[in-house]
């Protein structure tokens, strides 16, 4: 008793509680390619970037570059939806609406107002932030099922609005959207380097690849690891407990929504440039479902999984083109088979590389360290605590 009163008096009542320093040093986390998850993913990511860079040298045909660009834009979209669905756990069935907002904003700013494409980017981002707040603010206090219905409605509202407004070109949409250009030089001009000719489509492909890899994949992945990402995951796992941990769940959810919207908006602007024409038909519910499928199929909250899912969703219909009318049936059957055998996705976020699994320590039995240490050791523990209190 005397010990406790002594240490209590030595503390000021209003002192901010300081964390005690760790009692022992931890071994540094392994960082090799084969002996850590992180190192392996980095190596794999580096390999993918090299493949992306080499692709036009292997096959620069119009068809290949076109579907590769589309696949990259799908990855960007899926990474954005992954923030909303995978990290924050908010089911969004109208995600394509933000894609539409991005595509239409950039389309209107470049064709109607005649701005260059890069100048339209801030406008796109702002429009998407606004759209995210407008849809998110009133609906994010709803829990999952109701939120899904509201977002479904929002997706349709955006499409029907675009179909009926004059500035969006009505059902025929916007045509002649220019490519990106800086100063007098435009992507369509292409350029030559060391005698190699880069046509406009390849230049645009590289540009999309850089944006998607840097912003879409690495940016979203970094956000997920920091303070904000932990808050999103906490909200997903247990909203009340997150609130009890000092996280304003409402703000955390709306941030996830805004980030998702901005990612989709940038993807929309890239898509508008890629297709050079947009119409309301490109923003049907089917596409929302397809992107959601990419996230769920790949593994919610998992960067490699979501990339695999987006590639599957965008490339499978193309690769199955030989089967003509059958291709969507085969596509559907493939999906069912994948979900049956990998219910938590192709590459779940909790996945541990198979060769690392055996190295992970098995949790010891309960009595192992919940048990009270022998009396002598007990006193040692008390003195240590007393030291920390002071």
């Amino acid at each position: 008793m005397s010990r406790s009163t002594m240490s209590r008096s030595s503390l000021t009542r209003d002192a901010v509680l300081r964390a005690p320093s760790p009692l022992f040093d931890r071994a540094a986390a392994p960082s090799g390619i084969l002996n850590s998850n992180r190192g392996f993913l980095r190596a794999l990511g580096g390999l993918c970037v090299v493949l992306l860079a080499v692709l036009p040298f292997l096959d620069a045909s119009r068809y290949t570059i076109s579907i590769a660009t589309t696949a990259l834009i799908y990855i960007m979209l899926a990474m954005g939806l992954n923030v909303v669905v995978g990290y924050a756990g908010l089911l969004d069935l109208g995600y394509i609406a933000f894609f539409a907002v991005g595509a239409y904003t950039s389309g209107i700013f470049t064709t109607v107002l005649g701005w260059p494409m890069w100048a339209a980017l801030p406008a796109t981002v702002l429009a998407c932030i606004l759209a995210g707040i407008i849809i998110g603010a009133p609906t994010l206090r709803l829990r999952s099922d109701y939120l899904a219905i509201v977002t479904l409605g929002f997706g349709e509202i955006i499409r029907i609005t675009a179909n009926n407004l004059e500035i969006t070109g009505g059902p025929s949409g916007i045509h002649g959207i220019p490519s990106w250009g800086f100063g007098g030089w435009n992507f369509d001009d292409g350029f030559s380097l060391f005698g190699l000719q880069f046509p406009g489509r390849v230049v645009f492909y590289y540009f999309v690849a850089i944006v998607v890899v840097l912003v879409g994949v690495i940016g979203a992945g970094r956000l997920a690891k920091g303070r904000l990402g932990r808050a999103w995951k906490a909200v997903r796992d247990d909203e009340d407990a997150a609130e009890a941990m000092g996280i304003n769940t409402y703000i955390a959810k709306i941030t996830a929504y805004i980030i998702g919207a901005v990612w989709a908006g940038i993807a929309g602007q890239l898509m508008a440039t890629h297709l050079s024409a947009i119409s309301p038909n490109s923003f049907q519910f089917l596409y929302s479902a397809l992107i959601l499928m990419a996230v769920v199929l790949g593994g919610m909250g998992s960067t490699p999984g979501v990339i695999i899912g987006a590639l599957f969703v965008s490339l499978a219909p193309e690769l199955l083109r030989d089967f003509s009318e059958w291709r969507f049936l085969i596509f559907g059957v493939l999906l069912v088979v994948v979900m049956l055998f990998r219910p938590s996705g192709l590459w779940p976020s909790t996945a541990i590389l198979p060769w690392l699994r055996k190295h992970r320590p098995v949790p010891p039995p309960t009595a192992g360290f919940m048990a009270v240490p022998p009396p002598t050791a007990n006193e040692d523990l008390e003195t240590v605590d007393g030291e920390e209190a002071r």
Binding site: R3, S4, R8, L11, R13, A15, V16, L17, A19, P20, S21, P22, L23, F24, R26, A29, R141, G219, R222, L223, K225, G226, R227, L228, R230, A231, K233, A234, R236, D237, D238, D240, A241, A242, E243, A244, M245, G246, I247, N248, T249, Y250, G301, T350, R360, P361, P363, P364, T366, A367, F369, M370, A371, V372, N378, L381, D385, G386, E388, A389
Partner: protein
Amino acid sequence: MSALLEVRDLRLQFGGVKAVDGLSFTVEPGEILAVIGPNGAGKTSAFNCISGFYLPTSGSVVFDGKDIVREAPSFLRTLRLVDLLQSFGFYRVLPSRVTKWGMARTFQNLRLFRELSVLDNVKTAMHANLREGFWATLLHTPGYRRAEEECAEQARGWLDFVGFTGDENLYVTQLPYGEQRRVEIARALATGPKMLLLDEPAAGLNFNEKQALMQLIRSIRDLGVAVVLIEHDMGLIMQLAERIVVLNYGKEIAEGSPEQIKNDPVVIEAYLGVEDEPLDATKLQTGTVDLSLLDPTRPDPTRKEKR
């Protein structure tokens, strides 16, 4: 010396059910207070009101000089807008704000973040005290890295403090139950509280684990943190608590030291009930109660005795 927490005439009704009915008590800084009572006495409901999860029907809760119960203007009440506004966080104090003020809590049934590792669970609790900007996170600036390292260091400090010696990279669902309890207490401590609310921390623990828990709660108190615990294990409470508040039917029925509570007839009545009252001789005579009807040896008046 002013009280850290002051609950005054707290009332909470769910329709006709009075879960908390005029509860008042105080918590002094750095004490261990136990709140006990039979099942359904309103202990957890009171906890939820104090930590901002439930909005009490009336009453006041003042924590560290700040009012946790906010009053909405009457014109909003007549317009029936109060519920809507409160769901957006107006005219109430959100639990996250209460936590920032320095009141941490644990839950009756474990509510850890299932898909986060042990370390990330504790790091999550430092959300409010962590300075990491959006751009810093995107660009991984040196400031961000320092903040993350500091955060991990503190989280490990708390894990060591509660005596967690397992692998911090495991998912919490991979841990045994007792360890999950420890991680939950470490997570609550990581918010940097002045007061810690523990809702049945010893539920489901064996004898040894309870002894370790008592040790842990005392060392938390020694840090200067007031500990308020709801518990059903009387043995643990009598050894641990400095003061006990007893609830029944949402009201405080007794308060005092463990010794006083142990011998309080009202408390014994609440827990064990009262013995049947002895038969009242006057009632028998006036005929209000005819107990002889219940006597099996009584001769049956309808039957004629044969001789």
